[in-house]
């Protein structure tokens, strides 16, 4: 066993529940490293929604809430407001975050509350059998769009930025080193940090949308489709179809944080 896994995970829940080659495991792996590097394990509170990615926090030996579908962010807001010293991290999937819980997501971003939201985007509702999600690419064939998806997908990073999030970044499961740096930066950022991780789903998205269930091939596809910020400036928009920009997309410091604002407004609560 990896020494970090031995240190932080609940041993009776192992091995992980995910399908072979799932990107969620990579995110857990990288997240353990980020927590270990920052040394904040005892302050950590994790919230997971419903979906494959919602399982991630349940493996850690920290405080964990595993809550209703789409409602991970409201629960996390409550946790953060009751004790601002907590480091609250939300693990959510694309369907959970912008499908079912889209409204909660934009309002948490608007308030700029100090949460770290790690959204794992596989472009499909994987756990329930492969239905079309708000992030399914155009023409993607799923169980509920057998003739190809006609709805344009969300650019969730753009949504977070325009809703008022102060730290927005996107990486893929094929960039673990960069993802580690971003997760550390996002957890240290005082404000709403949103990190989107594009991940492979060999069982559902791979098989039906991409036409292969080989995890290594899907990882290469993720790498091929990611465009860095510098490259994106030179690439004409018509060539960006199906690709996504990776990197730190938005970082704003100095905007007032919601928990701080609340406690400043009610100073008598601070002494409790």
């Amino acid at each position: 066993m990896l020494p970090l896994a031995d240190k932080y995970l609940r041993k009776r829940t192992l091995p992980l529940i995910f399908c072979p080659g799932c990107g969620d495991g990579t995110v857990l792996n990288v997240f353990l490293r980020a927590v270990d590097d920052l040394g904040i394990f005892k302050d950590l509170s994790l919230v997971g929604g419903i979906g494959c990615s919602g399982w991630l926090p349940t493996y850690l030996q920290s405080d964990v809430l595993h809550v209703l579908h789409g409602r991970a962010i409201p629960f996390a807001c409550g946790l953060k407001l009751t004790d601002p010293r907590r480091k609250v991290v939300v693990f959510t999937g694309d369907g959970d975050c912008v499908g079912i819980g889209g409204n909660h997501f934009i309002h948490a971003a608007r308030r700029n509350i100090d949460l770290t939201v790690i959204m794992i985007n596989n472009g499909i509702y994987g756990m329930t059998g492969g239905q079309v999600a708000p992030t399914t690419p155009l023409q993607g064939r799923t169980q509920t769009s057998p003739y190809g998806n006609l709805e344009p997908p969300f650019d969730v990073c753009e949504l977070a930025r325009s809703a008022g999030a102060t730290y927005v970044a996107r990486w893929t499961a094929a960039h673990p080193v960069q993802l580690l740096k971003t997760i550390k930066e996002g957890m240290e950022h005082p404000g709403f940090s949103f990190i989107e991780v594009m991940a492979q789903c060999p069982t559902q998205a791979g098989r039906y949308i991409e036409g292969t269930s080989n995890a290594a091939e899907l990882l290469n596809l993720l790498k091929k489709r990611s465009v860095s910020l510098e490259q994106a400036k030179e690439t004409p928009p018509e060539e960006m179809g199906g690709k996504y920009v990776v990197g730190k997309l938005h970082h704003l410091t100095g905007k007032r944080e919601f928990t701080q604002a609340i406690y400043d407004n009610f100073p008598q609560e601070k002494s409790r």
Partner: protein, 79 residues
């Protein structure tokens, strides 16, 4: 006289047969081609990759970080 920096080397590369699900992502991500597929079965019955050429390892930890089942541990040789 300047000496060239010490080349990093791996003391041991462990693949835990209790956790490995045989996705072969380590074979794909390793820049030095240390791993290769094999017919050895893990506890759950998946065919596991093997670190067939650990001498080539440059200890970049890419396999360890990418492994979705936390099965790989790379131990660096101490200087």
């Amino acid at each position: 006289m300047t000496t060239s920096p010490r080349k990093k080397a791996a003391k041991e590369i462990i693949i835990d047969d209790q956790f490995c699900k045989g996705c072969n992502l380590c074979v794909e991500v390793c820049p030095r081609r240390v791993f290769s597929g094999s017919s050895k079965r893990s506890r759950a019955g998946y065919s596991m990759p093997q670190a067939t050429d650990p001498g080539k390892c440059s200890v970049c930890f890419l396999c360890e970080m990418t492994c979705p089942d936390l099965a790989i541990t790379v131990i660096e040789e101490s200087p």
